[in-house]
Amino acid sequence: MSSKEASTVRRSSGRAKHARMFATFFSVAVFAGAFCYALRGPQAVANSIGDAWSELIALAVELVLGLVIASAVGILVPKNKVSRWLGENSGFRGLGIATALGMVTPGGPYASFPLVLSLSKAGADTGALIAFLTAWAASSVSRLLIWEIPMLGLDFAVLRFVVSIPLPFVAGFLAREIAARYRASGEQSHAG
């Protein structure tokens, strides 16, 4: 296959993927909307659409900025360093670095998921990426300060924060075990 043909195939399969995604999201949204209409009435549907629209407008700018930052980090951070610090042989220390990064990474999913994709391309392994995401989601320092302490009180918020600290390590360790098993079974089926 020439490279031109390959890129055409890639592009059209990308388009098919987008069409599939669109169909799935569209049907789930219609389904949820119908439920909302049946159980809560037309006003609730109208309010939901209004909420979603204003969130979309608010998010659009941050989303683009998040994507730019994540891609830029992927280009600027040297690949050999990422794979040494966060690669599959980075061990417990790699999970620790990923956890610490996740805890201090501010911002919503519009920034963290593109960042995970960039780090993955730069050589970070699944275990470290999952430790990062778990720490970002469950032990975020910025969310603790902005949301949890004001809304749920210092005692509860600190308790929740403290018990969440081991979680990224557990998830990262388990993810490495699972990924290794995935790979082993893949090699076996290749051989057989």
């Binding site: 987008h18 995604m21 999201f25 569209f26 789930v28 949204a29 949820a32 909302c36 809560r40 309010n47 939901s48 659409i49 909420d51 979603a52 969130e55 979309l56 608010a58 998010l59 700018v61 941050e62 989303l63 900025l65 994507l67 930052i69 891609s71 830029a72 980090v73 280009i75 600027l76 999913p109 519009y110 920034a111 998921f113 593109p114 995970v116 994709l117 993955s120 699944t126 990426l129 999952i130 778990t134 989601a137 469950a138 902005i146 949301w147 949890e148 809304m151 749920l152 509860f156 308790l159 929740r160 018990v163 969440s164 081991p166 979680l167 998830a171 388990l174 993810a175 990924a179 995935y182």
Partner: protein
Amino acid sequence: MLDSGTIILIGVASLLVGLIALRHPDRLGELVANVRNQAASILISLPFGLLIAAFVSRLLPAEIVSALLGRDSGLLGVIVASALGGFIPGGPMVAFPIAFAMFQMDAGRAQMIALLTSWSVFAVHRILTYELPLMGRRFVVVRLAAAAPLPFLAAALSLSFH
């Protein structure tokens, strides 16, 4: 419309793009292509993700859920909380008010911790909107399997702090 968070993001983004322009000017095209590809995937899922979250947040029967998560609901309450948490839609501006309401209705601490941990690691809307389009199915499956025990673990740890 420009809050301090956005201004910080603008600052960081300009700094990083500036660095690339200085050090690797040949790779600016790659940056633009990356951003465009990822934006295309997310822009399909994002509007629907937000819409689904908005619908589900109105469907959520907060009173029933908090009755299930009361102080005396025990292990069953922790299991219910772990299972339901991931379905609380939206960001912290939706989840924390719901958690606050449940707290007022006397939900137990271990159950609340299971609920919030499950919401943070399993958030279904976030998986559908961002993780699946960007990282693919295999990554999501491995992450969900690895994260499955976390809400229980957090709840169990919280009991040891009395």
